[in-house]
Each structure stands twice: as structure tokens, then as C-alpha cells.
Symmetry: C2
Subunit: 157 residues, 2 copies
């Protein structure tokens, strides 16, 4: 942090938020910095402003890019990559939920199916009933996930 400014405080705050969501601090800081920045920023500037190594900035920028939270833009008069934030946080979050949580739920359902297969015939019927309960729970959870964008849109869209 070269200068103490509201923008820098905000980037630090975004780092804390990221940590509390079990992302890493740098990811939050970078996104926070780009979020408030009126202009796209280069990798070097990001690293300097946030007092982190170029390497770290590079790695976490790439992750943010994968998430669609950040995009590279070309800035005339500079050959450096510059980045700007995708400020549509709801969109970013939804994609994150989809890619992270829904995919895992599908995996859980597949595993539960395997257990159900295993439990056929051999074990006592109680466990089968429990597995079926779990599976329907997972299915419902996934259905809720799927509705989430519409639900979120229904509240402040």
C-alpha cells in the first residue's frame, strides 16, 4: 500500500471477506482493487499497490480470470496486460456456486448411488433407507441451487 486511501482500505477489506469465504486473501485484494479502480490496472501495478510479489499476483489473477471475475483489456500505449473487474458480482457468484457447489452435489449423488448399489441385498434395510433420504436431500439441494438465480433476481434484481 503505497498511499493510505479509501481504495486501499477497501482492497484490504475485500481480502478479509475472501478469507472468510475460504478463498485466499490475495484473490480478494486484487478483485477489490480492480473493483474500485476507474481504469484497468497492469499486473505490475497490482503487485506494487498491494505489496505482493508479481508471481502471486499472476497466479491469483489467472484464477480470477477463470472465474470470470476479471478480464484482460488492452490499453493503448502499453504492451502490458491490463485488467478490469467484472463488477456484476451476482453473476460471478452464481457461476461460482454453479461450478463449485452444484458440481460437488452431483458428485455426492453419484457416490450415494454407488453406496445404494452396494447396499442392495447385503446389508440391513435401514441404511438403504437412510441413503435414499440423503439422495433426495441432495437432489432437492441441487434444485434449490438451480433456482437461485431466479430467486436472487426476485429480490433486488
Amino acid at each position: 500500500m503505497t498511499k493510505p486511501s479509501i481504495e486501499n482500505d477497501f482492497a484490504r477489506f475485500a481480502g478479509q471477506v475472501a478469507e472468510s469465504l475460504s478463498f485466499n486473501k490475495s484473490i480478494g485484494q486484487i478483485y477489490g482493487l480492480l473493483y474500485t479502480s476507474p481504469d484497468p490496472i497492469s499486473l505490475d501495478e497490482i503487485a506494487t499497490q498491494l505489496m505482493m510479489s508479481k508471481g502471486n499476483a499472476s497466479i491469483n489473477l489467472r484464477i480470477l480470470e477463470e472465474w470470470g471475475a476479471v478480464r484482460p483489456v488492452s490499453v493503448s500505449g502499453s504492451r502490458r496486460d491490463h485488467y478490469e473487474a467484472n463488477r456484476n458480482i451476482k453473476e460471478v457468484a452464481m457461476r461460482r456456486v454453479e461450478d463449485g457447489f452444484s458440481k460437488r452435489l452431483e458428485w455426492v449423488e453419484r457416490e450415494l448411488d454407488r453406496f445404494l448399489e452396494q447396499s442392495k441385498g447385503s446389508t440391513d434395510p435401514k441404511i438403504r433407507k437412510q441413503l435414499e433420504e440423503l439422495k433426495s436431500l441432495a437432489e432437492n439441494a441441487r434444485r434449490v441451487m438451480k433456482m437461485l438465480p431466479k430467486i436472487a433476481g426476485f429480490f433486488g434484481g
Copy 2:
């Protein structure tokens, strides 16, 4: 794992699920074991079955108890504490969302208010607009959280 059984496989699976939710493995394994167990189990039995230290079992059982995911029950003929799972996972998850996520959202809103205060007068108006946008986003998110039990109930209740 003394015996290879579907129950033990399931406990291991629950451990993986826990890890993917950024809890620790032991928490998931313990809950998984208790979930499928027809009878309450003692701390020692839990540790033995899951091949973990008593200390670890003790610590994580306490966390599960705090979450309301597990409850101690007295078993006649034994002075050991025995535990059984609260199998109402939806209830457990909802309380977890409430205690974890909603509380954090409230903190985010408070911090955003502080930034808004700071931004009054001094800085350019753009950042203030962004902060207000973020705040309304957080409010909406919290509103969705609050509705979640009803939404979840609307799907398979």
C-alpha cells in the same frame, strides 16, 4: 477402520464431503459414523472405529455438538458419554448458514457503512455509488438467506 464395511466406507465418504466444504475430515467422518449407526457411540469407540486419536475425536465432537449436529445421550450400563447424530441435516445446515454466512453478511454491511461514512464529502462520487451498490447487494443476499428455509421447504420438505 477395524472392519471394512459399508458404514466405514460411508464415514470415509462423509470425511471427503466435509473437506470439500472446507470443514475438516474428522468432523465429517464422525458425523457420518454416527449418522449410520443405529445406536449411540462412545468417544472411545468413535476414535477406534475411525482410527483417530481420542483427543481429536473429543475436539471435533465438541464442535459438532455446538452445531447441534450431534447430541450426547446417556446409555444405561455405561458411564461413558455416548453420542448420536441429529439426522435432520437440513436443520443442521440451515443453522450453519445462519450462524456462519448471515453473521458474516451483517459484518460486511457494517463495514460497508463505515466506508460510506468515510467516503462522504472527501472522495469522488463514483466510489460512493459503488459502495451503495455493494450494500444493497449484501442486503439482498441476506434477504435470500433469510428465505432459504422456506425455499428449501417448498422443494422436498
